[in-house]
Amino acid sequence: MSQNILQLRDLEKIYPNGTHALKKLTLDIREGEFLVVIGLSGSGKSTLLRCLNRLIEPSGGSILFAGRDVTFLKGSELREYRRQIGMIFQQFNLIRRRSVLYNVLSGALGTMPVWQSILGRFPEELQQEAMRSLEIVGLKDKPLIRADALSGGQQQRVAIARSLMQKPRILLADEPVASLDPATSHSVMQYLERINKEFGTTIICNLHFLSLVRRYATRVVALKGGELVFEGNPHDIDEAWFKRIYGEDAIEVQID
């Protein structure tokens, strides 16, 4: 099988307020897989994703990226590492008052000298590349529209285009469809699937709906109280597993 792109060893996160969000988490993530992380709100899914690109500092354990320890990277080395990992968010996190193109271009900031980016001088190649990214997500006719004038699903696609500017080896998706309606959810998930299949980008995605998990994931892990409680094939999550992950009173909700 393919290689492990990320190896987590005994990863720990304890917040200053005492919340123990991740407990001795050990997990291998294979290059090119579509990994979905499930679990209740507060189970540590978001913390896990943000530890992977070090938006949140782990309290213990280690993260290996392509065999290299990235747990303690600092400054330009950390930024160099983050450039290889794209990220999209539940609330899209676009710069709302700026154009779609401006938002997509901001994904390339890590590759530009600071002064050049602040003067707004994005090289011609980057602009063309931004247009290609927009084409991939089906928005090439909207580069000059203000980001907040788009619908939720379109905004999430702009966010995907922004992350494509990094030519990422891994794409982290934190609840990417939780603010969207069912039809739009599938559209966004299909773009992620396409990026996964066409560019071989590893996807690590937090999701709530099991129907989406079964449809898109190549592998599933479940977190409960910061611990890994399930790891395997999405179709192996039966009634019993569901109740173990989500609690006895949980009822599965379908999204079509």
Binding site: N53, L55, R79, E80, Y81, R82, R83, I85, G86, M87, F89, Q91, F92, N93, L94, I95, R96, R97, R98, S106, G107, A108, L109, G110, V114, S117, I118, A159, R162, S163, M165, Q166, L172
Partner: protein, 339 residues
Amino acid sequence: MASTSPRSVFQAFVLDVFFGVYLAITLHRIIWHRVLLNSEPNELTMPLAIVYGSIGVVLAILLHAMKASPGRKIFGLTIPGWRDALAVHMLWIAGVATVVTSWVVTKVSLIDLFSGDRLQRAGQLFGSLFTPEFSIAGQAASAMVETIYLSLMATLLALPITFVLGFLSARNLMKQNNTTFVVYNLVRIATNFTRSIEPLIWAIIFSVWVGIGPFAGMLALMVHTIASLAKLYSEQIENIDPGPMEAIEATGASPLQVVWFAVVPQIVIPFLSFTIYRWDINVRMATIIGLVGGGGIGDLLMQYQGLGRWNEVGLIVLLIAAVVWLMDYISAKVREAIQ
């Protein structure tokens, strides 16, 4: 009884000493001498101050020990019954003594306000004010223009400094490490201190420093503008949506790029709106600052007031009111338009 911890008993005692000394001074010097005897009390010398202090402390110890003191009442530490009633009486007596003292110290006089010849004088004054002298309109207008431009200059010169200080005093940006947090605290202390000094006092300082005139007034307004706008700016930065910052940080951007691309777009409009509002405030303040030698229309007002030419003063007041109203209206419209 709320709590009988030694700490609150001590705090109650400190209050009792304050009440004791305060009552000794106000009851003797103001109520007894000024109100009842209508005479000037003796000059407050050191030995006399010690006498008041001793009476107050003795009173405090006595009442505190009896558990009938006002301080104990405030902390809920009195014994119900006559002791509690005594403490309540002390509290209202202190309240009444305070109101009477304020009245006496302010030299409130209804006779001065409403006696016949005083009213006549006021009538003449208002009459002059309401028949403005239009022959000085040109002079007044050019002084007004000076005021508007000097307040614009103060606002513009303050802008770049405030912009930088706003970021340096935003908690969410500066809390990241110890060095930046020290800078944050230093900037906060400096701007808080500067802001607590009124522009009028800054104008006095600068009119001594650079001489009387519009330059001194401009500097005074600039300093106060920097201090107050920096606070508004930093509050705006603290209230931004952190999502875009997280997204830009995740792309591998440097901290400066994060600020420029994720923070600045969110704050440009509110900053602009605050700045226009501040110019409006500065025009208003500039008229006052002129009174102490800050140039512009306030200067002119003081000159005519000194000569007792109230018709001219009337015109100037009219002009100030018109310009302030107009600035207020325009700045509200502009701020509405850019939202």
